[in-house]
Structures are given as structure tokens and as C-alpha cells.
């Protein structure tokens, strides 16, 4: 009698054993969660006119506090290893990537806080539920409404990102994936201008994201069937033991899980959402998303690939090599034809995902450190880059079409100069972080990737040349072309928030280009994955 067993409810056979918790190890996550929860309460109880200030400071304080705690905790080796019943594994790569995410998220929050003298954050709609262009929307703007929920949402997303690369089992990884994605879907749909484009971006991202989550879940289920456990450590043991009967579940499981993860980094052929979403989302959100999601998702890929299923890598490596090559080629070639700055940077981010995959495929500790260094270099440059894009305006709205950027260098030499420098970093020109990053990513592929590694590096260098052409063309456009007739394109005077974000992003780009040794060394020291 199935129904009867519920009623009688026999006791647990073995006594219930609570999970061990190393609170220091998960303290950064707890701080960010607390910040997000308080943020929601602020939305509930604080008066409207104070919300923006409270939210921005709360988000910044919790991110910085989490980073400080993270640094303190990482100094003590005792807090390494699995905690919370192995659901969270705090090791070198996890700590490094978490630190990177926290810093980049703080920069992201700074760019989101930009008001340009208005009442709420400039990039976000005063009321997401109002019909675009309706009187109701205008009334909301006049009444000084603002969607300051974006800051708690960002913090929730950061929580997911912190957990994603540290997840010890596939279930935790899946929930982390959702926690990081769900707020991003929302944030994408809240742009103040070009609302319809923004809503379309949000919908596309949501539908495709849900689709990719399904792939991840399907793969996780197959791997569970194979190993009898969701823990990456157990899956690794099962792969090494290689029992013949269930072997059919392993490869489809690995492939499907990787599809779910590669979607998040925007690797070809799972990239189709990237240009539309990057273009439609509010520009600061695009920057935050491009930088932090990539860090988190590559962290998860590294952990799955290096800890979980490394032992049968010869079965699936070919596919990922093809994906990496395709990603670089498609990203680079399609960026040539773009006419919108945000779409151009989106295709460039696709190409960069390919470059990072080259490092991942080296299957060596140096590959891990190369990946992590690349992520940091790319992330800071990207946030600063999108922050600059958000400054360039025509008639109050963003001038994202390339033709509008013509001659920007003459009127606004500093803004154009910074952007040109960031573009050079994207291209990987020496003395920028891009060069050091490309070196760090490609060197392990040559040393440990075998023939395919060398081939990938050759493709990577060729693609870098193509993208460099695109960036140089944009620089030429900014400096050596007549500005278009009509309303003048201006770079708004940024508030200290955006200025600080751009300055830090640019400085990091410069410093990592000239003196990359410190960060490279840190990445190398923290490149050892722990299994338990």
C-alpha cells in the first residue's frame, strides 16, 4: 500500500547527520546573500527617494566586505576543501575566481549606479511593467520612480556566480546556474531606452537559457545514472573504474552537461543569443554580464572538465576542440560585419570565449592558470569598455551605431583614447593585458595540447589578427573620420562612480599588460583543484 507508508512514516534507518559547515569558507557567499536580502527589505520599507543611495552603498559594501573576507579566509589553508557535505569545494581556482567575480561585480555596480543627474539609475527604466512609450511610463518618470531592485538582483546573481565555480556536485552547480541566470534575465529587460529591444533580449535570453538548463539537467541525470552519484569526485572515480555496462551513459552525459555550460560562455554553436542580448540589455548590465558570467561559467567548465570527467577526455575532447575553433572563427569573422558597437563587442566576446577554451583544452595546471588569468584580464577590460559605450550619447540616448562614433576622438580625446586603449587590449597588442592574457592562454596549449593544441593556437592567432583589424578600423573611425552631420554625438560627463569604474578597469588593463607577473603567479599558485 503506497499511500499507507506515508501515513505511518517510519523513522530514518540511520540517525540524521547534519552537514558539516565551515562558515568561514562560505562567508563571502553569506555576506553577499545578506546584502541582497537587506536590499530587498530596503525596497520594501525605505522611502523612495533614499533607495538609490542605500542600495548602491549596500551593494558596494557587501561586495567589498565579501572580498576582504575572502582574502582573509584564503590565507588560512585550514579552510580549503569541501564543506556543506561536499556541496561546496573551496580550493585555489574557486577562491581566485570568486575574488575576481567580487571585484568585477563591484565595478559593475559602480557603472549601474550612474545617474547623469537624473533621479534614478540612468540605464534602467523607471517602471518595467509600464507599456513602452505609454503615458504611464512618462508619469512614472516624472514621479521619480526607479527600478532600484536591480542592485539586489545583481547581488543575487553574484551569489550564483560565486557558487558556480565552487560547486562540488552537479545539483548544486545546477541551482547555482539558475541563481546566476534568473536575475540576469530580469536585468536584461529593464533598459530605460529602446525598451522593446531590451524586452526582446530578455525574452530571448530566458528562453534559450531555459533550454540550455534543460540540456545541463539531462546530462546531469545521465551522469548520475552512470556514476550513481552527483558528486564530481564520485563521477571521476566511476570514470576511472570504467565499468563496461553503463558506459553508454557517460559520453552523452558529458556532452550534454558541456552544452549547458558552453551556452553560458557563448561558444559557437550555442552563441546565437549573445549579440541580441548584449545589444538589448542596459549597457552596464551587458558589461557586468559579459565579464562575470564568463568567469563563473568558465570556472564551472574547468571544474567539470578537470575534476569530474578528465579521465575519459579522449572521448569528448575532439568535440570541444571543434567548438573552440568554430567559436574563434565565427566570433572573429562576424565581428567584421557589425555596425553596432554593442554587437561588435558581443561578437568579440564570442571570439574571446574561443581563446579561453584553447587554454582550457591544454589539460594541465598551466592551462587552468592561463584560463583564470585570461578571465581576469578580459573581465576588467570589458566592464570598462561597456562603461565607455554607455557614456557616448546622441540626443540623450546611447549612440551605439558605429557611424555615430565617427570623429569622437576630436571632440572627446580622453574618452576616445581610453576606448581605443581598451580595444587594443581586446586585440591583444603588447603592453596591454590582452597580450599577456593571450600568451598565458596559448602557451599551455602549445606545451601540453599536442598537435590539436598547436592547430588551435594557429587559428587563435589568425582570428586575433582579424579582430585586431576590426578594432583598428574603429579607432581609425574615431580619430580620422569626419563627425556625421546632424545632432552632435557627445560623451556625457560621468559621475565619480563610472569614472572610478572606467579608471580601475583601464588601470588593470594597463598594469596586467606591463607587470602581469604578480597576478600570473597568483593564478599559478591557485590553479590546483581539490577533489574533496
Amino acid at each position: 500500500m503506497p499511500a499507507m507508508t506515508v501515513l505511518s512514516a517510519p523513522a530514518l534507518a540511520t540517525a540524521f547527520k547534519p552537514a558539516d559547515v565551515d562558515y568561514s569558507a562560505i562567508a563571502p557567499m553569506l555576506i553577499v546573500i545578506a546584502g541582497a536580502l537587506i536590499g530587498v527589505l530596503v525596497e520594501a520599507f525605505a522611502p523612495r527617494r533614499h533607495r538609490h543611495v542605500i542600495q548602491v552603498s549596500l551593494a558596494l559594501v557587501s561586495l567589498v566586505a565579501a572580498f576582504v573576507v575572502l582574502v582573509t579566509v584564503s590565507a588560512d589553508e585550514a579552510h580549503r576543501g569541501g564543506t556543506l557535505a561536499q556541496a561546496v569545494i573551496i580550493d585555489g581556482p574557486a577562491l581566485f575566481l570568486q575574488g575576481a567575480i567580487l571585484l568585477m561585480a563591484a565595478l559593475g555596480v559602480l557603472t549601474m549606479a550612474e545617474k547623469f543627474g537624473g533621479q534614478g539609475a540612468d540605464a534602467f527604466t523607471p517602471m518595467g511593467a509600464a507599456v513602452p512609450g505609454s503615458p504611464h511610463e512618462a508619469a512614472a518618470l516624472r514621479a521619480g520612480l526607479a527600478t532600484s531592485e536591480v542592485f539586489p538582483l545583481t547581488l543575487f546573481s553574484v551569489v550564483g556566480m560565486l557558487l558556480f565555480p565552487a560547486a562540488g556536485d552537479l545539483l548544486t552547480m545546477f541551482v547555482a546556474l539558475e541563481v546566476l541566470s534568473l536575475p540576469l534575465y530580469l536585468l536584461c529587460g529593464l533598459a530605460r531606452r529602446r525598451r522593446l529591444l531590451s524586452q526582446e533580449a530578455s525574452l530571448k535570453y530566458f528562453l534559450l537559457g531555459a533550454f540550455s538548463s534543460a540540456f545541463f539537467l539531462f546530462g546531469a541525470a545521465l551522469l548520475y545514472g552512470y556514476a550513481g552519484s552527483l558528486y564530481l569526485a564520485d563521477i571521476a572515480t566511476a570514470v576511472r573504474a570504467a565499468n563496461g555496462a553503463l558506459e553508454g551513459l557517460l559520453l552523452p552525459g558529458v556532452v550534454l552537461v558541456l552544452v549547458g555550460l558552453l551556452f553560458k560562455v557563448g561558444a559557437v554553436p550555442f552563441h546565437s543569443w549573445t549579440p541580441d542580448v548584449y545589444q538589448g540589455a542596459p549597457t552596464p548590465v551587458t558589461g557586468f554580464m559579459a565579464a562575470c558570467t564568463k568567469v563563473a561559467a568558465f570556472g564551472a567548465i574547468l571544474r567539470v572538465v578537470y575534476v569530474g570527467v578528465e579521465a575519459n577526455r579522449w572521448d569528448w575532447r575532439g568535440g570541444v576542440i571543434a567548438v573552440a575553433a568554430l567559436t574563434m572563427v565565427v566570433g572573429a569573422v562576424l565581428s567584421v560585419t557589425q555596425t553596432d558597437v554593442k554587437r561588435l563587442l558581443a561578437y568579440s566576446s564570442i571570439a574571446h570565449a574561443g581563446f579561453i577554451l584553447v587554454a582550457v583544452l591544454a589539460f594541465d595546471r598551466t592551462g587552468v592558470s592561463g584560463t583564470m588569468f585570461y578571465l581576469v584580464a578580459y573581465g576588467f577590460t570589458t566592464i570598462a569598455g561597456f562603461a565607455v559605450v554607455s557614456l557616448v550619447r546622441q540626443g540623450g540616448s546611447e549612440a551605439s551605431h558605429l557611424s555615430q562614433w565617427a570623429g569622437l576622438g576630436r571632440n572627446h580625446p580622453v574618452v576616445a583614447g581610453v576606448f581605443a586603449f581598451l580595444l587594443l587590449a581586446f586585440a591583444g597588442i603588447p603592453l596591454t593585458s590582452g597580450f599577456a592574457a593571450k600568451y598565458a592562454a596559448f602557451a599551455p596549449a602549445i606545451s601540453f595540447g599536442g598537435r590539436s593544441g598547436v592547430a588551435l593556437v594557429i587559428i587563435g592567432v589568425l582570428c586575433s589578427v582579424i579582430t585586431a583589424f576590426v578594432y583598428v578600423r574603429l579607432i581609425v573611425l574615431m580619430y580620422f573620420t569626419e563627425p556625421p552631420a546632424g545632432e552632435v554625438v557627445v560623451a556625457e560627463t560621468a559621475s565619480p562612480f563610472t569614472t572610478v569604474a572606467i579608471t580601475i578597469g583601464t588601470l588593470v588593463t594597463l598594469v596586467l599588460g606591463i607587470l602581469p607577473a604578480q597576478v600570473l603567479d597568483l593564478a599559478e599558485r591557485s590553479s590546483q583543484f581539490l577533489v574533496k
Binding site: F16, V40, A44, F45
Partner: protein
């Protein structure tokens, strides 16, 4: 011992039988004098139209309510196993559950304060 669901089956049969009997008996025994007004349905409310107002669309307010319902529905899903196994789980699980409920109630406070629960 017979199947524990047999009494339920009996109850179902008795209930169905009573309903059929009542309607049938009324149809057989009652007087029948019809006119149009008697057969007509009394319309208290806006007359139904083939196409609802606004192109057959439902206002988004319903969606909000449904969404909030689901959030608390899922919370209750976690509460049920917790309640069943409460005696064995001990203090740790109680603390975890309280934390969970508190966090979900943060959402509740937000929705309440922002007027998400008002229909107007």
C-alpha cells in the same frame, strides 16, 4: 483485511446514486409548466461575448497573483517532508528551515509593501 480504499468506493457509489435519484425523482414527480422566462438564464453580470475585452487577453494582474502563489506553494513543498521527519531531524534542520522561511518572507514583505497583494 480488505483493501482500505473499499469504503471510499462505497461512499462514491452512494453519493453518485443519491445525486442520480434526486434529479430523476424531481423530473418524474414535479409539475411541468414552461414559459420562456422560466427557461431563460437570469443574467446577473455582463453578458458573455465571444471575444473577451482586450483581444481575449487576461490582465497581467492575474499572472502576478499566480506567480506569488507558486512561490509559496514551493515553500510548502519543502515544509511537508520537514514536518514529517521533524522528530528525527533535530535542531539543525529547524534552524535551516527557519532561515529558509525567513528569506522567503523577505520576498513576502517586499510584495506586500509594494502593493502586489492589492487588487484595486
Amino acid at each position: 483485511m480488505s483493501n482500505p480504499y473499499v469504503p471510499l468506493l462505497f461512499l462514491l457509489a452512494i453519493g453518485g446514486g443519491f445525486a442520480v435519484f434526486s434529479v430523476g425523482a424531481a423530473a418524474v414527480s414535479g409539475p411541468k409548466r414552461y414559459n420562456r422566462a422560466k427557461l431563460d438564464a437570469y443574467e446577473c453580470g455582463i453578458e458573455p461575448t465571444p471575444q473577451a475585452a482586450g483581444g481575449g487577453r487576461v490582465p497581467i494582474k492575474y499572472y502576478l497573483t499566480a506567480m506569488l502563489f507558486i512561490i509559496f506553494d514551493i515553500e510548502s513543498v519543502f515544509l511537508y517532508p520537514f514536518a514529517v521527519a521533524f522528530n528525527q531531524l533535530g535542531l539543525f534542520a529547524l534552524v535551516e528551515m527557519v532561515l529558509f522561511i525567513l528569506t522567503v518572507f523577505v520576498a513576502y514583505a517586499y510584495v506586500w509593501r509594494r502593493g502586489g497583494l492589492e487588487w484595486d
